[in-house]
Symmetry: C2
Subunit: 199 residues, 2 copies
């Protein structure tokens, strides 16, 4: 494989370590990168190292941020009595994009998975319980994924919180809006039926 330059090879190898980047796309990206203006490559490379070096967990909700407290936790306009629990910062971002949720978040950085050996102490649950003890929280909305791990985590957290008297809720599962019934799996269809609401 020495028909490219050594540095091209190194770049291709480094790129192919990224998730979802196979050998072919690493090669394609590498050729794109060496054809970019030098300043653009430096901007991209700098953005990576800057982001990595500045990133940390928000002291309150554990999402990724470059400050002590993330923008949401530092905002006085957010409802300080509601916490939505999500598995990762991308899920937080998904709910923020709706623009309709104005409470706080708590990011677990994972979900309980006996199969993968991920227990309650491997996710940011201790931090959530500490918040419930110190902050004046009225409701915890559990928005973990509706996968096996997400459901397990939701059940576990709800059992932990129930004794505190704080309201615990779970986001509804059912047919996605705009979804065509015939393309939706049976488990979802059944869940939607069970969760039907009076009109």
């Amino acid at each position: 494989m020495d028909y490219y330059s050594n540095r091209m090879q190194t770049l291709i190898e480094e790129l192919s370590r990224l998730p979802g980047v196979g050998a072919k796309s690493a090669q394609r990206l590498a050729f794109h990168i060496v054809n970019m203006p030098v300043e653009s490559v430096e901007k991209l490379a700098g953005a990576m190292t800057d982001a990595r070096k500045s990133i940390r967990y928000c002291k309150r909700c554990c999402t990724l941020t470059d400050r002590e407290y993330c923008p949401i936790c530092s905002s006085p306009s957010r409802d300080q009595s509601t916490i939505m629990v999500v598995e990762n910062p991308r899920d937080l971002a998904a709910y923020e994009k709706t623009g309709k949720y104005d409470g706080l978040y708590h990011v677990l950085h994972g979900a309980i998975s006996p199969a993968l050996g991920i227990g309650p102490s491997d996710i940011r649950l201790k931090e959530l319980m500490a918040r419930l003890a110190s902050e004046d929280i009225k409701e915890v909305i559990i928005a973990t994924n509706s996968s096996l791990e997400g459901e397990t985590t939701a059940m576990y957290i709800s059992k932990l919180i129930k004794p505190t008297g704080i309201r615990v809720s779970r986001i509804a599962s059912g047919v996605p809006v705009g979804g065509d019934l015939e393309y939706i799996d049976e488990v979802t269809l059944l869940r939607a039926l069970e969760g039907r609401v009076e009109l």
Copy 2:
């Protein structure tokens, strides 16, 4: 969109400029990157800038390399009398992977495309003709893609070379019509090479 840190936003924006990287995958990659060890991020960022800064065209075949002459052009074990003409370095890589072609290459960096306004002077054709005048070449194998542009380029080149008396061939159409060389399996590539026909 200020629920991430500014530096995360910058990283996501920079990543989404890459080809084939949409908003979702840029976000996914960014989260992966900030979760990587600092040294790994520095290695990746460094590989990009190093590759970009060192890259140039081989003085002989015009492929991308970090030396004056690429490894293939500098190798005395390659057949110095045969040139395979390809559109880009990825196509060169595709043929090298077969391990069965031992001649030289010439990389055009594009193909003639009247629709896109790319003419013969926009690709490295002048350099090819200079080689044919100065090197002792017995055969030129045209391995441009079997797309409209690739075929147009092949015809153009063959007409240019014919008067010199040098043998000109075209890789066989074992390559599917409309196919991109870099995505084709090695057996097909070899079959196409073996079945090449005189133009």
